[in-house]
Amino acid sequence: MAAFSPRTVEAPDDLLAAIDWCYEQGWTDGLPVVPPEVSRVTSMLAADPRPPETVIARHPATTLELTLHGAAVNAVMAGCLPEYFPVLVAAFEAMDRPEFNFHGSTASTGGSAPLLVVSGPYGDQISMNSDVNLFGPGNRANATIGRVTRLILRNVFQMLPGISDKSTQGNPGKYSFCIAERARGNPWPLLCEAQGYPKGTSSVTAFAGGGYFNIENHGGNTPEQILGSVADAMANYGCITLGQSVVILSPEHMQIVTSTGWTREKAQDYLFTHAKRPVEGMKGVGKYRDSEYDRQHVASAHALTEAGFLHRGLAPSDILITMGGGDAGGHSCFIPSWSRLRGSLMQHAAIRPTPKKE
């Protein structure tokens, strides 16, 4: 077997000139990158004990492969620190599963972006933001882990805008779309616990997100009022499909929803029950299809599925719901899935931090 010999290239020694040179190579997302200088990549690779040629994801159509080395090069370019690397690796291990279909969700006119949700203690260990301005700028880990996801899709998998990425409009998350779940004050089990990982193990969930809907409700005082406005957003005619959903409740909204003891499962049931549109309404906007209705109303359909209506998703478990954001404000959000059907299903994987050397 041939020795692993990653390709190197000479760039200008002057840092600013090297940044410009990276632009000229077509290696960026439109923003400046950190030139992937050899020693920086070596430091990044030290964050994973496996050989650098280890393949962590494959493109199903072109068979292009993402190795740990390729991930590390792009992580340097995005501005990641080595301690972020295990999150990135876990994210691509999750996205590599056929059910996630990262090729389709990136190539499609739908314009989705992989949303990464980090759950568990590792987010705090690398100082991720789960709090105020959750989806906004300002936190290096959130920003650069999200950014490197895009750089890898672009540079390694050659998902190039206009060529192999045919997004009609795309969405701002295609620059970066990465958050941490808020553990502080969260009354529900963390996602990593609900996903069945051992205590202390963190996870990252990848979801092909089709955009961001702010849900404002400063007047609701009951779980039904808050979740009713969330369900309405989930079922708007512009985005209702059989696909999955992500709902991030603000702490204010979460406090109201759980004030009378609602569990995550009860909230999921409520949202699935109410995020629906009548068949006649679907026909009215030209989106009704027998095949979709039939798929949702099979004999084995979830018990909450209502005849004569098209729900969002196939079951309550299609709705990932947790808490994030700052203490103040009645602003939650709903993130729809890519695809009018179920072209991509969210996936999660364990984050494996680098063992500390004695």
Binding site: T8, D13, T62, H103, N155
Partner: protein, 92 residues
Amino acid sequence: MQLYVPTAPPPKRQAARAPKLASLQGARIGILENGKLNAPEMLNEVAALLVQRHGCTVRKLASKRNASAPAPSNTLTDIAQEVDFVITGLGD
């Protein structure tokens, strides 16, 4: 300064185009539709033109459940055994 290249090396699998058919006359058509809203209608229309103009026959209609994922290999294997060429397209 020395940089690592952030792109992947060329894929190991090199895809090649199938040889061109010598003639369409009497050829057997397979249709691979991807489940999009108008895919069967559009592809059947194309097939009808080939039947009319070249005496082709439609032998197989296969469907993909996920429009955005590659067709399962057994779908391709099955269809390849019965036809001379396949028509496919988005149909959105």
